[in-house]
Amino acid sequence: MALSFMSSPLSLTQGQGKSSNGSILACVGTYSSPQGPEGSVGYGQGIYLFEMNPATGALTPRGLFEDPSNPSWLALDPSGTHMYAANETATFQGANSGSVSAFSIDRSNGHLAPLNTVSSQGAGPTHLSVHPSGKYLLVANYFGGTAAVFPIRSNGELGSASDVKKDQGKVGPRHPSSAPPGSFAISGHDVPHAHMIQADPSGRFVLASDLGLDQILIWRIDLQSGTLTPNDPAFASLPPGDGPRHFAFHANGKWLYSLQEEASTLVLFDLDASSGKLTARQTISTLPKGFTGTNFTSEVMVSPDGRFVYVSNRLHDSITFFSIGKEGVLSWVGEVWTRGDYPRHFNIDPTGNFLYSCNQRSDAVTTFRINRQTGDLTFTGQYTPVGTPSIIIFLT
């Protein structure tokens, strides 16, 4: 594959992806429907465009693409010229499904032009990603419990689904095995819930976290037909009830860090590049020593230099960070208060110097400076108002 998703942030440190004046563009997706997240109102109005000052990290609003259908997850294609949005709704054109939208991006100003919107083939899509080939969009439908593959046409539009798979298996218990003492972290263990889907950097395998089944499903993808077939082994299991939500690959493609929502753990897996087998090697809490109570993790990310892992904790309302040691083993480094409630997502900008936390329930994005040597985060003092922010991505 010409471009893996991990290599693009690295290439940006060499100067790509910046506009002529040195600024960087970012898009923020939101819950924008009266049926917003967790039964509450979404206060966003669609997808917001910001210009980031690479020296200070400050975000300046530059536009809004109005979209009242909860564009809660966004992803770019490898060329950075098209963006895809998961519209996290339960109805689309009368069917019990969400939808996905394709946009072309004007790289000079970040302007979004809608191309088309199709059914996501399941209710409540919470995640999507573009296969490294650039030929397929992979979609995880949380409430529908399905994974779907959509061909991407040469102009960036989405075609009809080339495959839809319903997650199969035994739903895990309501109470997580690994949560801290005093936890009431109960969610999603009623039916299968596909929460994330992404190809490995080689593009040969497609991995999908199912929070309800407590499994990471492993598929092989046929790039000619756009179809998924179960790998052997077909999945890796997490402890019952722990709720795998998201994962992140190390740039070397060999290490995968899986984040469990109900258990507040990170699990290091080895990915065998030939067999697709995942082998667990380390489990570490995403919460500080002594923590008791309830927390739901949300996002995990490896720093562009491959030295640190960052995790967001909803209810503890923190970003915790870990150093990556020999063989990928994680060690706790520190925690920082997000300065806002329920950080659903965070991201590191292309320079690698700033981290942005999308604080869903306090309606703001907060900016932290990254110490590239130690991994530490320091709050910049910057709050950027956005109603019910759910994701931030940079136009790389």
Partner: protein, 422 residues
């Protein structure tokens, strides 16, 4: 509807409270060895401080997530370290929005934030006697709060009346306290009157969606007497007013003062307030506005005069936050405010004359701090993090007012109100 005191309290006891009492007794029995140890070292300086925490569960995380605990928990606080240890559970069928201990330290009152007490559209309040040695609670009686969803109760300085604010019902009630601590039938009930303020607060930070309670009628959130006991103040969140009532201690009745109220900026939502300077100052906390307003209080006329408004959020904050609790240090030098969604405690110094100055903020280490309180030694502040199901404890620097996290999380489902047994 009139409340029949002679029959209903016993019904209440037999119908649900006795079961709770037995559960509570059983839970406490389990801990008797530690209680015995407590008694043995009764004179030692390490004798634990008793605290009660009420549970009030609401939305928490993803769809359907909710802490399922109810009732009142007993904790022991180590006065040297601030560490809280759970020592008992008094179960009941209600959510507890507020707890208050009478100044005698022998009785406690709970606001049960329900709207269906004995088939009526009302909440209830419960009276307990306290075993000061073991912390054991014995339910005395439970009566109607005379309005839906009571959010706050306080004891009049005379010790003769319990004052109740019914958030959902828009009313306040005065309930006599009998000599044994039981509650009698209401001597007065007043419906808050006025125009509901706008949905959007006047004073909230940029980018806020602090929208709550300004839609469907009055919402008294707190009721308390001034230290003289002559006046009763009611913070009505929806009407954006603090009502000022004259209190008749003989009859237990409220009559409108002149002036009868003071207004906060439209939509700002006065929630709680705290008296200082022997009752000559009042600091009012606005839930939607995220402001603290310093009023001078005239204990002769009962008039409130606004002197200063400060934000409870740091410089540069944008977005949504809802304030919750306001407490003052016993020396009157500092005021602490909790911010839900910013999930912080903001610290202010009180200068000469009453002027507030921002000192610092501290992260609560948990979500949605519904209540904060300072222990009787004055050395620790506890934050009840309602949605993350833990109480976090902070060390107070008595000189500077600063808070430092002790590292201690005490687990409990949906902690919402906390009182210490002084």
């Amino acid at each position: 509807m009139p409340w029949n005191d002679s029959s209903h309290p016993r019904d209440a006891f037999s119908r649900f409270s006795r079961r709770g009492f037995l559960k509570g007794a059983a839970a406490l029995a389990v801990t008797s060895p530690s209680l015995a140890r407590t008694q043995r070292r009764a004179n030692s300086t390490n004798r634990p401080i008793l605290a009660y925490v009420g549970a009030y569960a609401g939305m928490q995380g993803p769809v359907g997530s909710k802490a399922s605990e109810q009732g009142i928990y007993l904790f022991h606080m180590n006065p040297a370290t601030g560490v809280l240890s759970q020592r008992g559970h008094f179960a009941n069928d209600s959510e507890t929005a507020w707890l208050e201990i009478a100044s005698s330290g022998t009785h406690m009152y709970a606001a049960n934030i329900i709207a269906n007490f004995q088939g009526t559209n009302s909440g209830s309040v419960s009276a307990f006697s306290i075993d000061r040695e073991s912390g054991h609670l014995e339910l005395l009686n439970t009566v109607s709060s005379q309005g839906a969803s009571p959010a706050h109760v306080s004891v009049h300085p005379s010790g003769k009346y319990l004052l109740v604010a019914n958030f959902g019902g828009g009313s306040v009630a005065v309930l006599p306290i009998r000599s044994n601590g039981e509650l009698g039938s209401a001597t007065d009930v007043k419906q808050d009157q006025g125009k509901v303020g706008p949905i959007h607060p006047t004073s909230a930070p940029p980018g806020n969606f602090a929208i709550f309670g300004h839609d469907d009628g009055a919402h008294p959130h707190m009721i308390q007497a001034d230290p003289t006991g002559r006046f009763v103040l009611v913070n009505d969140l929806a009407l954006d007013k603090i009502f000022i009532w004259k209190f008749d201690i003989q009859k237990g009745t409220l009559t409108a003062n002149d002036p009868p109220s003071v207004s906060l900026p439209p939509g700002d939502g006065p929630r709680h307030s705290v008296f200082q300077a022997d009752g000559r100052r009042l600091y009012s906390l606005q839930e939607q506005g995220s402001t603290l307003v310093w009023f001078d209080f005239d204990p002769t006329s009962g008039s409130l005069t606004a002197k200063q408004t400060v934000s409870t959020l740091p410089k540069g904050f944008t977005g949504t936050s809802f304030t919750s609790g306001v407490v003052a240090s016993s020396d009157g030098r500092f005021v602490y405010v909790s911010n839900r969604l910013h999930d912080s405690v903001a610290i202010f110094s009180i200068g000469k004359g009453g002027m507030l100055s921002w000192i610092d903020e501290v992260w609560t280490r948990g979500d949605y701090p519904r209540a904060i309180n300072i222990d009787p030694t004055g050395n620790f502040l506890c934050s009840c993090n309602q949605r993350s199901d833990a109480i976090t404890t902070f060390h107070i620097n008595r000189e500077t007012g600063h808070l430092t996290f002790t590292g201690h999380y005490a687990s409990m489902g949906a902690p919402a109100a906390m009182v210490f047994l002084a």
